[in-house]
């Protein structure tokens, strides 16, 4: 049933700028780092001379986190607005589909769109490194970790934004929360490891990115489940 609901969702977002956002996000991050490395080439290459690829990937990752947090809030809001705009919830939810399927499909679409962005980010980073003359032997494990694990660590924000966007008809609220979280994330590296906005940076006292990603996955699932229960029980306007 989720597949049926997702098939309808793909159609509904066809003319919305969701895919545009999915491309512009990683393109912007890679573009900014291209400018950064282009303008300060000699300085940065000297700074990272032991590990050129590692320096590039770290810089991309650092910029990609706020882009990811902002992007997921925007996409979540766009997905929910499809129904809010003309109050189509009452039509969708009176059809023979479960609320579980409707909520899960929205969440799944968000995951797929962001996974595509992360893939583009990985490809873009590799291309940028090659273009900067760092060679073709890029550290694949490091690149994939920096591209995909922040996405896993950001699960709680995806679940929270979908929950808020779907249940609140005024999108100013989830968008404000999303933007505030993005700004907060910029200062979160110095915070305690418990601080969820720090997780996508994959920095923790164990020096293991999987700890941050694991925490994100667990918290994301809990928030998804809470959102689902609330969505399934609430009255539809």
């Amino acid at each position: 049933m989720i597949a049926r609901v997702m098939a309808a969702e793909w159609l509904k977002i066809r003319k919305k700028p969701i895919w545009f956002l999915a491309v512009i996000g990683p393109a912007g991050v890679v573009g900014l780092q291209a400018a950064n490395f282009g303008l300060r080439y000699d300085y940065l290459v000297k700074q990272y001379e032991d590990d050129l690829w590692g320096g590039l990937i770290g810089n991309v990752h650092y910029l990609a986190v706020p882009a990811l947090l902002l992007g997921l809030a925007l996409v979540a809001s766009m997905l929910a607005s499809l129904e809010h705009q003309t109050n189509a919830w009452k039509q969708t939810l009176a059809l023979p589909v479960t609320r579980f399927a409707v909520f899960t499909a929205k969440f799944a679409i968000l995951l797929v769109v962001l996974a595509v962005s992360c893939t583009l980010l990985a490809v873009g980073t590799a291309a940028l490194g090659a273009g900067l003359g760092f060679g073709y032997a890029f550290p694949a494990g490091e690149l994939l970790t920096a591209s995909y694990l922040p996405f896993v660590a950001a699960m709680p924000f995806m679940a929270l934004q979908i929950w808020m966007s779907v249940t609140l008809s005024n999108q100013a609220v989830p968008l404000t929360v999303g933007i505030a979280g993005t700004i907060l994330s910029l200062y979160s590296v110095r915070m305690s490891d418990w601080f969820p906005w720090k997780w996508p940076y994959l920095i923790n006292e164990w020096n293991d990115p999987l700890v941050s990603a694991g925490a994100g996955l667990a918290a994301g699932f809990l928030l998804y489940a809470a959102g689902l229960v609330h969505f399934a029980r609430r009255d539809v306007k």
Binding site: A8, K15, W89, Q91, P96, V236
Partner: protein
Amino acid sequence: MSAWIIETDRLTKTVGGKTLVDGLNLTIGKGEVYGFLGPNGAGKTTTIRMLLGLIRPTRGKVRLFGQDLQRNRTAVLRKVGSLVEYPSYYGHLTGYENLEAVRRLLDAPKSRIDEVLGVVRLTKGAGRPVKAYSLGMKQRLGIATVLLGKPELLILDEPTNGLDPAGILEIRELIKSMARDHGMTILVSSHLLSEVDQMATRVGIIHKGKMIFQDSIQALRDRSRGRISLTVDRTEEAWKALLGSGIRAEAADGRLLVESLSDEKVAAIVRLLVRHDIAVYRIQEEKRSLEEHFLALTDGGDSL
């Protein structure tokens, strides 16, 4: 097992201490066109939302096709097509794409889209974005969407709201043909009796959340039939004379009121009065339209 397509048991919805729907027992049999009437704010839409599982009843139960709605929601809703308040649509998509989105959810065959577009005569405008549609076209798209899954039960909340007279007529004819040609059971809500008068077989009248009348449209017509008013010189004696022959009359400011009767009966009453030497000054029929009767019902709703 009951034979009702829709059956509610003391359906109640309270929001913030305000009872919007109060102990409603609504029953609709197979093949009926049920006119669900009530003035603005009576609780029609709230009831319909509960029938579709969009909101949870505070108390009471909804059974559709003899099955508990809460337990068999998706199975039951597969057989229902619904339109709640103004139509829902995706404005950036064309009419065709709107139907396709719902078709994917229902897993209906693709050919169904052209069929329903034909039924509501929207084939021509189907390629245009819905945000450019007139209200009438949106409403027709809404009806097309309702029909997509070949439902056995239609639940239509004020489907003619905001339409011009031609549009109203068209929707009304469409509803009638759905019942007649496809044997669908239909619930149509409206705040105007005249709107469902010609298509409903049964009516339920809701007022301030309570069902104040539920019976066949004929029963409602019977109740709203006119009365005969007789102006006579001695009201008291005339009243007794009529009672002596088994006719109950109501005496009011020098007049006698009797329920509308056949011509022969009226002639018999006059003969009777003349025989008792009572002067008959005037005989008038006081007609009340169905609409007036409906208004009287809903104004003094609690007295019924």
